[in-house]
């Protein structure tokens, strides 16, 4: 018997602002632009919105990020659902999950889920946005100071350490990461939304400067300003709305924790493993049924380990799995068809979610995949600490 919430809700609205080195608007202003666009896209009135879930990006930590006052900036009155959420890169998928559960419980009808971020400042590098920890003036206090003392800065460090562990355990090669960067860029060349649209060769990948070995610059995602909003509605309402509904078939989360001692493998076995069981069970599908993937790609390595943990290949075989270019255009497992976060735009979990919606609607233009029946969307946060996923489909059942 099908899960009672499989297909109970659908994504009915999508609004995206210009993304990238976009200056002159605050996170709240970008959020308002995205929400207005999403409401228009869904064919709704602002007064139809009765739920709001808010996710700031890094500015939720560094300052200036959107939070609960966004409700009043948007002039949303009489809400029946409201929260400010942060589970890092897994939040976007989580917002759709909590919205779906609330709608299924009769708590709300149309829930806006919005992400907005302004990590970039004019005249400052992208790296300045995320490497800040440990650079505060004065001496760090206590044990956490050992990170800065060792020169550990930003998430680049943590992912490099994780990727190295995978290479050592399983023989994963630099070229495997490079192939992910190349396949993703191939998609980006066909996306008008993507920030990096020039084709990429393996030579260019190898020539790109090291950030922290084994990560080249082109193994790391972009940093972008911008906002994305989506609207979740009940499936029975979605059928008569403006856009083709993209139904929520499955929802899952996995947060493995890290004991920071012998016996755990946080670098190579991620929350995706736990989430996969739940999301596949609810959707009634397995990896063999997934026709297109939108995987959180903060780093090339994240894609590789996520493919393993969702069962597309065995643990440790992610490198050989991607080697033939199957993730790229014309391949057997089209993945990150908008250019992902590596080459497209970095809106945390909204990057894979937004492209999943576009593909589910059949609105991908030149990059539209022919088989969009079962779409896996994942979100990942921390150093592979937090994970949430959705299975979406253009089909109600």
């Amino acid at each position: 018997m099908a899960h009672p919430l499989r297909g109970a809700t659908a994504i009915t609205g999508l609004g995206m602002t210009p993304m990238g080195r976009v200056f002159g608007k605050s996170a709240s202003e970008l959020a308002a632009d995205a929400v207005r666009t999403a409401i228009e896209d869904a064919g709704l009135q602002k007064s139809d919105i009765d739920g709001l879930l808010i996710n700031p990006g890094i500015t939720g930590i560094t300052g200036g990020g959107i939070s609960l006052p966004l409700q009043n900036y948007l002039g949303l009155t009489n809400l029946r659902l409201l929260n400010h959420m942060n589970a890092a890169g897994s939040t976007a998928a989580q917002m759709v999950q909590y919205a779906s559960m609330a709608i299924a419980a009769g708590m709300a009808n149309h829930v806006v889920c919005v992400f907005a971020d302004t990590p970039l400042s004019e005249g400052k590098s992208s790296g300045a946005a995320y490497g800040g920890a440990g650079r505060a003036p004065g001496r760090p206090r206590g044990m956490s100071g050992l990170y800065a003392a060792s020169g550990y800065f930003g998430p680049n460090t943590g992912y490099a350490l994780a990727a190295r562990r995978h290479m050592a355990l399983y023989g994963t090669k630099q070229e495997h990461f490079g192939q992910i960067a190349i396949s993703t860029r191939q998609w980006a060349t066909m996306s008008p939304l993507a920030q990096m649209r020039e084709p990429l060769t393996m030579e260019e990948y190898h020539a790109s400067r090291w950030i922290i070995e084994p990560l080249h610059l082109l193994d790391c995602c972009l940093v972008s300003n911008g906002a994305i909003a989506v609207i979740v509605s009940a499936a029975d309402r979605a059928k008569s709305m403006a856009q083709p509904p993209v139904y929520v078939w499955g929802m899952g989360q996995g947060h493995p924790g890290d004991t920071n001692r012998a016996g755990s493998a946080p670098e190579t076995e991620t929350g995706a493993k736990i989430a996969a069981e739940t999301v596949y069970r609810m959707a009634g599908v397995g990896p063999e049924d997934v026709t297109v993937c939108q995987l959180y790609d903060c780093y090339t390595y994240t894609v590789l380990v996520t493919l393993e943990d969702y069962g597309f290949c065995k643990k440790g075989e992610g490198g050989p799995f991607v080697e033939d270019g199957k993730l790229g255009p014309g391949g057997s497992l089209p993945t990150n068809t908008g250019g992902g976060e590596l080459s497209g735009y970095y809106m945390w979990g909204m990057t894979p979610l937004s492209e999943g919606i576009i593909q589910g609607r059949g609105q991908g233009g030149e990059r539209q995949v022919p088989k969009n029946d079962v779409i896996l969307v994942t979100g990942n946060g921390g150093i592979l600490n937090y994970h949430a996923s959705l299975i979406l489909s253009p089909h109600a059942s």
Partner: protein, 136 residues
């Protein structure tokens, strides 16, 4: 301010971590051992993450472990580290189980390998010492 004049971020002890940093000054790598379940953890936290007991004792590590993973930093994040680029960072897993972020000294970056046995080697500063590791 020129790059050379910015000091490295050297931690200072707080009340919870004082036994760790005092031990380090005397060449001892100190860990916390749960008084209830015996799980050994990296300082400093009042509760055992295995059983949530707040009974514990400070114990001395053998100082021996192995490289769990490592990276070679090239990015200019902090001016005080720029003269050392490219430098290594590693996670060392101690014999007692806990893992910590550190640097490997006394070996070239090219010589590092996952699984390499290492032993603690303290870097002395004026009022603290920082645990680094060298090949055993």
């Amino acid at each position: 301010m020129s790059e050379q004049t910015v000091p490295k971020p050297i931690p200072e002890a707080d009340d919870d971590s004082r036994p760790f940093f005092e031990g380090a000054m005397e060449g001892r790598l100190m860990l916390m051992k749960c008084g209830k379940c015996g799980t050994v953890r990296l300082p400093s936290r009042q509760h055992c993450d295995n059983c949530l007991s707040s009974e514990y004792a400070w114990v001395q590590s053998s100082g021996r472990g192995s490289i769990r993973t490592f990276g070679i930093m090239h990015q200019r994040y902090h001016p005080a580290f720029v003269p050392e680029l490219p430098y290594n960072l590693a996670i060392v897993e101690l014999e007692e189980g806990p893992r910590l972020v550190t640097n490997i000294v006394g070996a070239s970056n090219d010589a590092l390998e996952v699984g390499m046995p290492v032993v603690v080697d303290f870097e002395q500063h004026e009022d603290v010492a920082i645990p680094k590791f060298r090949p055993a």
